[in-house]
């Protein structure tokens, strides 16, 4: 398991994926509070003649910006990088090379998931603290509790997303198929939101909850259902991905 994860890590280093991800995380960590600070000034300077009333920026704007970036750019980049992890190894037949060496197929999938999760969680934490640091400098009244609570929500959300990429990647035979499956599941989850009774259990709502907590304050009680169901669904899709890969035929 550790040996398989070591290979994943080495691959990320050698193919420069690691450095790219780190750079992106750090870029958004630093730019979010700075953008929040200078944006209103910027709007003022370009709107000569018209008076636009821009409220002074607060720490909330910094973290709203930060979580927007996590949920859009970083989400997209992580999915793009992780989605091929199993499917492309099947396509290139390196998967069969490893499993014919007697490596347990389920362990192989689990090692990919664990590596991706650990990488994402550690980078999210690092970039959160960088963002927090700059935010405190620019907005001395920055509050830790709501922003960190939102980060925890994000970690739950991204755990679900990674387990879904593992499942998609295990089901698809190449990166395109895997991506298609992932998008399909994601669209279905968003459609399911039209049923109000299902809404509290739908992991996709975690991302909007993050910004709500920043704006209106932390409310763990209302999030319990979503968090628990997201974690259960994460485990379920990871296990499905492992079992399906174990069962399927490889080239």
């Amino acid at each position: 398991m550790i040996k398989l994860m070591k290979k994943e890590f080495y691959e990320f280093v050698k193919t420069k994926k690691l450095i790219a991800i780190i750079a992106i995380f750090i870029f958004f960590a630093i730019s979010s509070p700075i953008m929040a600070k200078i944006m209103p000034e910027f709007i003022k300077t370009i709107s000569i003649g018209i008076t636009i009333i821009v409220p002074p920026p607060t720490w909330k704007d910094a973290f709203l910006q930060f979580f927007k970036n996590l949920n859009q750019m970083i989400f997209l980049i992580l999915v793009l990088i992780f989605i091929g992890s199993i499917a492309e190894e099947k396509n290139r037949r390196t998967a069969s090379l490893v499993v014919t060496r007697g490596v347990d197929r389920r362990v192989w999938v689990l090692s990919k998931f664990t590596f991706q999760l650990l990488l994402t969680i550690s980078l999210s934490l690092i970039s959160f603290f960088i963002c927090y640091y700059y935010s405190v400098i620019l907005f001395p009244d920055t509050e830790f509790f709501p922003s960190f609570s939102s980060l925890l929500l994000f970690l739950v959300y991204i755990t679900f997303v990674i387990s879904l990429t593992i499942l998609s990647s295990s089901a698809g035979n190449n990166i395109i198929q895997a991506g298609g499956i992932f998008i399909l599941v994601f669209i279905v989850l968003n459609i399911l939101n039209i049923f109000p009774s299902l809404k509290p259990y739908n992991p996709v709502n975690l991302s909007s909850m993050e910004t709500q907590w920043i704006v209106f304050g932390v409310d763990w009680n209302s999030a319990v259902k979503t968090v628990i169901s997201s974690l259960i669904l994460s485990i379920a899709s990871l296990v499905c991905g492992m079992l399906y890969f174990n069962y399927q035929e490889l080239e």
Binding site: K14, T100, R101, D104, E249
Partner: protein, 301 residues
């Protein structure tokens, strides 16, 4: 001990019967050549034996283990795929360390060095991504050999090698005789003739023949003689009267290939005719059946 034993092993892809009712036994320590034209089902058989694909019906026992029940035998098997692909970001040495890691080999450095030398990749420092097909095939063999397996399953191991490399690799495979069991598929009949103890010929998913090379040759031996004389017409005229002649075929300008039912009397009678008719004998050769003749005969039926 029987290293590979298949019982009614079959694999269908939808309606397509890639492999049908294969019954095969490969005893320990031999080199088994698995032959067949394109699409015969060789790779399919290998995928089944390695548990990469599941049989539609029937089963196989590899190193005593039923392939349907477990995968632990894979640790004792080395596999070279038909189109070897590796992680391109590794160098050969790094890749072999990774294989050693997941195969549970301790302190593999010395072993890796030895194998790289054996396989002719010792001086390759670059990434695998830049390797030629032949180099990949060599590396594929290296990773198959690294865990010192009891059984080697090689899918067309020499298909992209140059003549020199082919000889080296065949000599290497040959050196395993008696120590490891080798099951390899190929189209290259001269390779098979050179190193195999036993062969199976597959066509359209069915095993047509399986036996020792010697026995197959005996079974398919047709007695043929190549004769070259100055006046072939005369010889044909005279030879036609002999009862043992089954067919006469012209070859080149003044050559004849005679197929005979019994070679001994003919070897006395024809020289007599040549002497009597004052013909000039330029060439006299008893033709051995080559594996290629047998392969073509068996697969064209």
């Amino acid at each position: 001990m029987t290293v590979i034993k298949t019982e009614g092993l079959s694999k269908y892809f939808g309606k397509k019967k890639a492999l049908e009712d294969l019954n095969l036994e490969v005893p320990e320590g031999i080199i088994f050549g698995y032959l067949g034209p394109n699409g015969a089902g060789k790779t399919t058989t290998i995928r089944l034996l390695l548990n990469l694909a599941r049989p539609t019906s029937g089963t196989a026992y590899v190193l005593g283990e039923d392939i349907r029940n477990g995968r632990s035998y894979l640790k004792k098997v080395g596999f070279l795929p038909d189109v070897p692909n590796f992680y391109n970001f590794f160098t050969a040495r790094e890749f072999l360390s990774f294989i050693a890691d997941i195969s549970g080999i301790d302190n593999p450095e010395k072993k890796i060095g030895k194998i790289l030398e054996l396989i002719g990749l010792k001086n390759e420092k670059g990434r695998i991504g830049g390797y030629s097909r032949g180099m990949r095939q060599r590396l594929g063999l290296a990773q198959a050999l690294l865990p010192d397996p009891e059984l080697l399953i090689l899918d067309e191991p020499t298909s992209s090698l140059d003549p020199q490399g082919r000889k080296e690799i065949l000599d290497l495979i040959c050196s395993f005789k008696g120590k490891k069991t080798v099951f390899f598929s190929t189209h290259i009949l001269s390779d098979v003739e050179r190193i195999c103890d036993r062969i199976g010929i597959l066509k359209e998913g069915r095993l047509l023949i399986e036996d020792n090379i010697e026995d197959i040759k005996k079974r398919y031996t047709r007695h043929r003689i190549l004769i070259e004389v100055d006046d072939t017409e005369k010889l044909i005229e005279k030879v036609n009267g002999l009862s043992q002649i089954k067919s006469i075929e012209r070859r080149n300008n003044n050559g004849l290939v005679l197929e005979v039912s019994d070679i001994l009397p003919v070897q006395i009678d024809i020289p007599k005719i040549i002497v009597e008719e004052n013909l000039i004998l330029k060439k006299w050769e008893i033709l051995e059946p080559s594996l290629e003749d047998i392969f073509l005969e068996v697969t064209n039926k």
